[in-house]
Symmetry: C2
Subunit: 697 residues, 2 copies
């Protein structure tokens, strides 16, 4: 790289400096950044993050300086090196699973070990027998075998029942033959399969004696443990470049009548009896249900911090960036900080509010899930003690089933809503950075592109809403027939029925609880409306999908508003935070709720939750809140405590040296500046000065 000439090195940024602007922002707010951060993440977690960050930053394998420049092959090669080093560090520092997750978060890129370290190990652990744990799990934990979880097929996504791959039981030699009958049955999108894995858990249709028993998991070795070349009758590879996530080797897999022994069918829940060749039914079909609920709750919690990265970058840059004078300013007062424009505040600050809202919601979900797990375990134990001979009823087999069903539906609604808000919010943050948001150095584009699959995986955000509504309709029927369980969903449905004929009259502008209740009212209204369409008017399920999407979104918004409110009034919150910080969080709660209400105004009208006049006033209240929150914006994003190394963004630097960093990356790191074009159309030469000098024409 030619270094910058002397006269360039002497150039400075025009006044005012970004660092001074940010310092002024920080001086103008009394938010207690460290206190708020400790309350959100705990002191231990923050210290752990610091400790691990130090290890990563000092290790040259984790150097990020070429990330934005490298093509896919170099990127994935570097990412494999990072994956290997993370594993080595895990062993060296005796990292827990939690430490490993923190390190991955700081690294902020998927590595080719990603699916081995998560889905492969989890599946072996949860669906394997002790014998299988010994055979597969223990070796996988030691990285002696590397695996992945192969479910989705080229022609089959969400619909697991539609999978084509077959596993046929051979009674004579006690084996299964795994086979891909068509091109469309090729496993596809499987993370860590393309290049890294030598084993796969393959979901295949179990066939015994010509009869189909649905999809089941089989461990299949696919590559040689020494040469890493595909085994015979295995066709495996990387599926090619994607919109993002290009450091992951998402792969394809075709199997041509590949035989695996009986022990390779994961048999904790259902199995084939090798003696009789009979299928043995699953003991506890809802176990997986619980895992998915857990995974989705994690996505909800993450959606807050995923979005917070974009909001941190955009907020800091909008405080440094100046464009135009204020239209009403007299004389030459200099350009205005972009964050002072109400249109920028209107785009950015509701997203800032959403980061906290989603964080508290996700945290609440995970707490509920953990409580439920404990209660279930306790009840099961008690039930086993009380009568070990009596045959248990279904409710006893899974005593938390009812609460779990509610949690499951809520997790579906919130996964769909939270990841949509985060994904679309990141793009809004990128645009709020103006032209520079489009540069890779903004740090938002790659992050956004890598996050987008979350809107599709673990249940497509549109598909999932059907599950939410199935549950809400069932709850409404139960409430109407007087057989409803005691949970929040039944409570809001009953409250609606009780006041349906007297009207709502929520004081959304003056009362926080009325504001929460208005969101609940809208959910109940839409639920009974959908029930009317489905049960009374007998409308087809398909004709109601758009209504269902709206209902699920309304339900998620209610949950988020309620969770944020609950977090604010919690004793532990009030004792952890000082008065000023609490007051600003309260404003963020109101901004999130009122801004959402304003955007969804027509449903609040038509359900009579609010009047038209209240919506007009809501708009004014939102503008007022923007003005009140604006001085605290920089300190609020500081509270998320993203290290610069993690953000890898010129625009989002803590020290405000935005333009210096943009220039440095472009001028000194950019490998394209090593080559010299031959610009004349009639010349056959393309690059004049480059080791690859060649003529292409």
């Amino acid at each position: 790289m030619p270094s910058n000439p002397g006269w360039v090195k002497q150039l400075t940024v025009a006044e005012p400096q970004g660092g001074d602007l940010l310092a002024k922002e920080r001086a103008g707010s009394n938010i207690n950044v460290d206190q708020l951060a400790e309350y959100m993440f705990t002191k231990e977690t923050l210290e752990k993050r610091e400790r691990i960050l130090k290890i990563l930053v000092e290790d040259p394998v984790f150097d990020k300086s070429q990330n934005y420049f490298q093509g896919r092959e170099s990127r994935i090669e570097a990412s494999l090196a990072k994956g290997k080093r993370l594993r080595q560090l895990t062993v060296k520092h005796n990292w827990t699973q939690d430490d490993y997750v923190v390190a991955n978060d700081l690294l902020s890129e998927p590595t080719p070990y990603g699916l081995h370290a998560t889905m492969f190990l989890v599946t072996l652990r949860e669906q394997g027998t002790p014998e299988q744990h010994k055979l597969f799990l223990e070796r996988a934990q030691k990285y002696e075998i590397i695996g992945c979880y192969a479910q989705t097929e080229l022609g089959h996504g969400s619909n697991v029942r539609g999978l084509e791959t077959t596993a046929t039981w051979n009674q004579n030699d006690k084996t299964f033959t795994i086979h891909s009958p068509h091109l469309t049955s090729s496993k596809w999108w499987i993370g860590s399969l393309g290049k890294a894995a030598n084993h796969a858990v393959v979901m295949a249709q179990l066939i015994i004696d010509g009869k189909r028993y649905g999809p089941h998991p089989f461990v299949v070795q696919i590559r040689d443990l020494k040469t890493h070349e595909p085994l015979e009758n295995v066709h495996v590879g990387d599926i090619g470049p994607k919109f993002g996530y290009n450091t992951m080797d998402n792969g394809f897999l075709l199997l041509n009548h590949v035989k695996v022994p009986h022990v390779n069918m994961l048999a904790r829940f259902s199995r084939v009896d090798p003696g009789s060749g009979k299928y043995v039914r699953p003991a506890n079909p809802s176990a997986v249900y619980g895992t998915l609920t857990w995974v989705r709750s994690t996505i909800v919690l993450q959606s807050g911090s995923v979005l917070a990265r974009g909001v941190t970058i955009a907020t800091r840059y909008c405080a440094v960036r100046r464009q135009f004078q204020d239209m009403d300013a007299k004389g030459n007062v200099g350009e205005n900080q972009v964050i002072n424009y109400t249109m920028v505040q209107y785009r950015l600050l509701p997203l800032l509010a959403a980061t906290f809202a989603l964080h508290f919601t996700g945290r609440g979900m995970i707490r509920l899930y953990e409580e439920n797990q404990k209660r279930t375990a306790a009840k099961q134990e008690a039930s086993q003690l009380s009568d070990s001979n009596r045959r248990p009823g279904p409710e006893e087999l899974n005593p938390g089933a009812d609460l779990l069903a509610d949690l499951h539906a809520t997790s579906c609604a919130l996964k769909s809503y939270g990841s949509t808000v985060a994904g679309e919010g990141l793009e809004a943050c990128r645009r709020a950075c103006g032209g520079h948001g489009y540069s890779s150095f903004s740090g938002i584009g790659t992050w956004y592109a890598d996050y987008l699959p979350t809107l599709t995986w673990e249940g497509d955000n549109y598909m999932l809403t059907q599950q939410v509504c199935r549950y809400l309709l069932k709850s409404a029927r139960a409430v109407l027939s007087g057989k409803a369980s005691e949970n929040d969903t039944s409570r809001i449905l009953k409250a609606f029925l009780a006041r349906r004929d007297t009207g709502a009259a929520f004081d959304v502008l003056a009362s926080d609880t009325d504001l929460v209740d208005a969101f609940a009212w809208r959910v109940a209204y839409l639920t009974f409306e959908a029930l009317q369409h489905r049960d009374v008017e007998k409308q087809s399920w398909n004709s109601l999908l758009v209504d269902f999407y709206r209902l699920s979104t309304a339900h998620a918004q209610y949950m988020v508003v309620k969770s944020f409110y609950d977090a604010l009034v919690e004793e532990s919150t009030r004792s952890s935070l000082d008065r000023q910080t609490l007051a600003v969080l309260h404003k963020l709660f109101r901004l999130f709720a009122l801004h959402t209400l304003e955007r969804e105004a027509s449903e609040f009208f038509s359900s009579s939750a609010t009047t038209v006049r209240q919506i007009t006033l809501t708009r004014k209240a939102v503008m007022k809140l923007l003005e009140e929150i604006r001085p605290h914006a920089v300190r609020l994003v500081d509270s998320w405590k993203f290290p610069d190394w993690q953000l890898d963004s010129s625009l989002g630097r803590y020290d405000g040296k935005v333009y210096e960093d943009m220039f440095y990356r472009a001028s000194e790191l950019n490998p394209l500046n090593k080559v010299v074009f031959d610009p004349y159309p009639d010349s056959p030469v393309l690059f004049k000065k480059d080791e690859r000098t060649k003529s292409k024409l």
Copy 2:
């Protein structure tokens, strides 16, 4: 690349085949595809496209097979080769500018000549004197010099007045000294500057005798014409990778007291008199105004076809893709085509309607602009003939100024709205393709990423809305004071005032003209509301920016609805299209309008343009229209006539061979499948089998 083993080559796609599904779709609609295409584009244009397509497809330089796999350097190298070849073909086939544009559209990627061929030539032509045309334009047209247009700076985007680069007049030697005083004054984002250009039109603050005269254009040579190395005191390079647009060498440029002769200041409109050193004021300041209006109108027209590419891909794939059985289906009826789900229709078909709506709107804009240009030219000529000695007044100098002001405001509103709809619509199309939408082979991701800058350049989509509202407020004041010109804006404002006290009562569900009028009513309502805030309540401009954005969007939506309606009732339309095709276009018009009305419901309520009950009925009407349009969806996208070569999409193939193509690209074209990983964390080797075999750890 290892070729697929024999057993893989024999695999077929599971029934039904994509080709059969698309054939059935095409058989189920009576839309006259060729007739509709000829009506939209003219037969001549379609034939020209075919002719040029043939030339490009047969030329190996334009091979697209590695596009999705290449890293930035290889991509830009290939793109330079394509740029050169396009120029050679232009000479060889004697292509017109229009032919060249068609070739570029088919190629569908920016090349490093992009800004030379457009902005550099246009600026020299429009802002240069005949002497300067000879000196610069003629050589540029022959590609003897390659140039770009350098306006934006690292610290200064939209606000041209804030530019830092200076051009100081030296009376002693009749030169200008061009200088970059700070790092933030570095030119930035300049297309074709980074690697290709040897000249730049640099916008710099003109300084004479210490006095500033604002930004003016200067031609500056920046690289040696032989070696292509930067000249002394010039620091120039590529700004690095971006979210998209990576085949373009957007560049930076710093100038250290670089002297250029007097002739290098483009002097058609304003100039420095070399004898006296006095500044001579521009003769016709609104000329640039007209060019920008033209550029924005083009963006509006393009936004329809930009979006149509995504809609074509998504619609075809949603007809081929099948997922789940219909929920109410009895027994095993097989999986349902995704396009049959109402939720998919609701996401996709309004976008399909928008493609036509934007196309007709853009076409209308360009016609109006051209008419206005003709009228202006005619009036100017007449005025010169009648009295060649009289000094003309400002209105005579630019007799179309009033219509141009209306056109200018409309083009701002429509540029902002149209490019936002297209950009966000493409992402909606990508998601409608489910998981496979995320693959580069979908062809949507790259296209979307390359399009996104359009939302920011030629006037940021948020900033522009202020110009729209400034015009609307001015018009409203003129209407109130009885001094309004005769144009559509005045008409709708007057119509509102006339009925304000008697109410609207638009029959939006039964009458097309009432539907259009309801959109107009909303615009007028919001305009007078904004006027009240600004003029009566004296609210600050900044506090109204969110209201202005809403108002501009409302104005754009009105224009689009009106333009679509006008196109439908036009005699030329009714005589060009058969009854069935017209009937479906009419449904698309209603879908676009009613779906927009439903989404913006709260503004239609609060302005009393509709009742709450009408909104509820609108929802039902939208669902009905989706059902009626769905059978025609594939033929409607066929009418856009995108060749497969242009789409470069596995999912959007005309023949429906979606899965075959995905598999082929992944398995046979993907260079990553040439390397073999070493997957063990303790091994220092990363890639086992690759020419670059190395150990990194």
